[in-house]
Symmetry: C2
Subunit: 399 residues, 2 copies
């Protein structure tokens, strides 16, 4: 009898964003013609940068000619041209990695979810609370024990290492959902904690491009010792508007090893390569060319403009929250603003009020963990016009 | 301490195709300027069909305009337009499926590898021998017990149900590597076996487009009862030359259920959707538009021409094997020819002889399982010229 992996029974009923989508669809069906402003799911709205589109069109045309057609990609880790571009992107920040350490993916979610496949189910996984739900859900599917490090208003929503140990640690900075970003000193504490526990840090740097404060680290590899205890997952989804184009990359240093009870060592990089070789097909050639263009001078200039546009939206939002006297984090080095629900409301309660009274969609904080209860996430990924309009509606609703 | 999933220690050292690639690279390095004819890895050589390229270029351009830009895809299963196209593709063959039952993927390998995530590790997995290595490797990573059903010259390399039970059954027809294709009667036996054992059949139909004999089933859903015990994994890699473009689809019928010891039932489709929601990012919008074009009238006409070209290569190969009196299967309803190594040679032995003496690359049968020992796979995916040249060299070598 084909039995289900019973770990799936331990999952919460609905993936947060699906639940929001359901609620929104119900509202829209009941109110035809009404225009909602969506600041919930964190999807971008600006089109791809011209350099990126050009590269994708060119590569698509190449696929139609015998001389330039591409079939299977040999390395299984992504084309050399793209891995060279990623390597160069790190190099500009004085971080040296080799192309062998780079794995091209279809985005950060897959890698942050699938990476637990290569860890023993006896591993204890540490997740900050609140956190991106995929960390918890994928490790629940993998039968791992999950413990939490609290992100609270008291620590500026930047959870620090607990007194107990852990084997696998998920960190996201700038953080989704709280928008907080670790300083080098804070990350150093995590690296030291990981080294002490022989743990591996899964560092989700999907939002690194939003860091404007030059003192803040944009990669965990800026921290001494990190290559021995961390891998880094990056995405072009928010950096370059790839939410529908789908490409990201993960860096696993050569130095990162699994240790066995008997002292044997295994390369995490090699084991991940083995996993991907059997369970991932790689990214489309035209998409990898599009991603390469993101890292070109032209692409970087254009993408920085896009990021700047969203950060300006965040400024508009922050002004409103300041005016309303609402406590929040994020918005400065992050496309997310994380704020305390007004009047002591619960976060789903505020979600419904905002949807019904202002026709604005946000994300209830408790969807990200218990410490999100009473908090709320809004994204700066909309148009400037809609962002400004949403802030007006919010002011009116609370005024 | 972060411990490795110890199931990885049970994997064979190297993924078959990586090993071949290594050997080929070594030969090429030692013999600069020599031109190898590659009939090993099963990669296609003809460019994408014009209708497909046109669709991908158009969609790429759409991503550069605000009005037509696409971000996250809502359903998590692929765009409606592509799932409608797949539904229509089945409809033409008198098979009714709904769009909810269709999951767009980056190709058959990922889905056939990842699907074991949703099954309990206590499940016994039945794999035919020889078989596509991913079935064994991915289930080994998942800690499943694997048993084998023998495909041998005696049964025309079409393994039939064993006397013992199994919970999960991998079938591939037309078969990779043997090129054999199940008849409806044979598939009915498998369906009956699965129903009796409450097992699930993972039906890999990646090569269905190569079936020319109208009496042979191109989908397991042509068999009565299959929707209660099977899911079907399809690919555009070989059908439409998508090995570098990356798109496939998996059909999981509503009727397919997991049953628990206490009699509770769970929808396989829903559990897979849940898995994908956390561990897969979906397929690029332009790639999904390209895939949609494969199913248009124009795309179908063009893709059938491409398949015809490869099947003509297979004919050229079969003529040579007939002439040389070499025993083989496949080639008629399949892009693969599976033949007995001449003079009682072992399959890696023949691989090296063919590489060194004829400068032709093929795939050693034993890489697909013990019953592949002494057998060899060659693909018809090259150009007609190179295929003919390879056959000349083979004749010369054995002459």
């Amino acid at each position: 009898m084909a039995k289900m992996n019973s770990n799936f029974l331990n999952l919460k009923e609905n993936y947060l964003f699906k639940e929001i989508s359901k609620q929104v669809n119900q509202y829209t069906a009941a109110h035809p013609g009404h225009k909602l402003i969506k600041m919930g799911i964190g999807d971008v709205t600006l089109p791809l940068a011209p350099a990126v589109v050009k590269a994708m069109e060119k590569a698509s045309a190449e696929m139609g000619k015998k001389e330039t057609f591409r079939g299977y990609e040999d390395s299984g880790q992504g084309y050399d041209f793209l891995r060279e571009a990623v390597k160069g992107y790190y190099k500009k920040r004085n971080i040296t990695i080799s192309t062998e350490e780079i794995f091209i993916s279809d985005g950060a979610k897959s890698d942050s979810g699938n990476i637990n496949d290569i860890f023993d189910s006896s591993c204890t996984v540490l997740v900050t609370d609140p956190a991106y739900p995929v960390y918890v859900d994928s490790n629940t599917m993998g039968g791992k024990k999950i413990i939490y490090a609290d992100s609270t208003p008291e620590n500026g929503f930047a959870a620090m290492p607990p007194s107990c140990g852990a084997d696998l640690i998920y960190l996201c900075s700038p953080n989704n959902p709280t928008g907080s970003a670790y300083t080098k000193e804070q990350l150093k504490e995590w690296v030291d904690y990981a080294l002490k526990n022989k743990a591996v840090i899964i560092y989700d740097a999907a939002y690194e491009a939003f860091i404007t404060d030059e003192k803040l680290p944009r990669s965990i590899f800026e921290i001494e010792g990190a290559k021995k205890c961390a891998l880094e997952i990056c995405s072009l989804s928010k950096t370059a508007g790839f939410t529908g184009t789908r490409c990201g990359y993960t860096v696993i240093p050569e130095e990162l090893m699994f240790e066995d009870n008997d002292g044997s060592e295994y390369s995490v990089r090699k084991i991940w390569a083995r996993r991907q070789g059997s369970k991932f097909n790689g990214v489309s050639y035209p998409v990898q060319r599009a991603a390469e263009a993101v890292f070109s001078d032209e692409g970087q200039r254009e993408c920085r403009e896009i990021v700047g546009y969203y950060l300006n939206n965040a400024k508009i939002m922050m002004k409103t929250f300041d005016k309303l006297g609402i406590e929040y984090t994020g918005g400065v080095n992050s496309p997310y603003i994380w704020f305390r629900c007004p009047c002591g409301m619960g976060s789903w309660e505020f979600f419904h009020k905002l949807l019904n009274e202002a026709e604005v969609v946000g994300t209830p904080g408790e969807g990200f963990g218990k410490n999100g209860e009473g908090w709320f996430r809004m994204t700066a990924f909309g148009s400037m016009e809609k962002t400004a309009e949403a802030m007006k509606r919010l002011e009116k609703m609370l005024g």
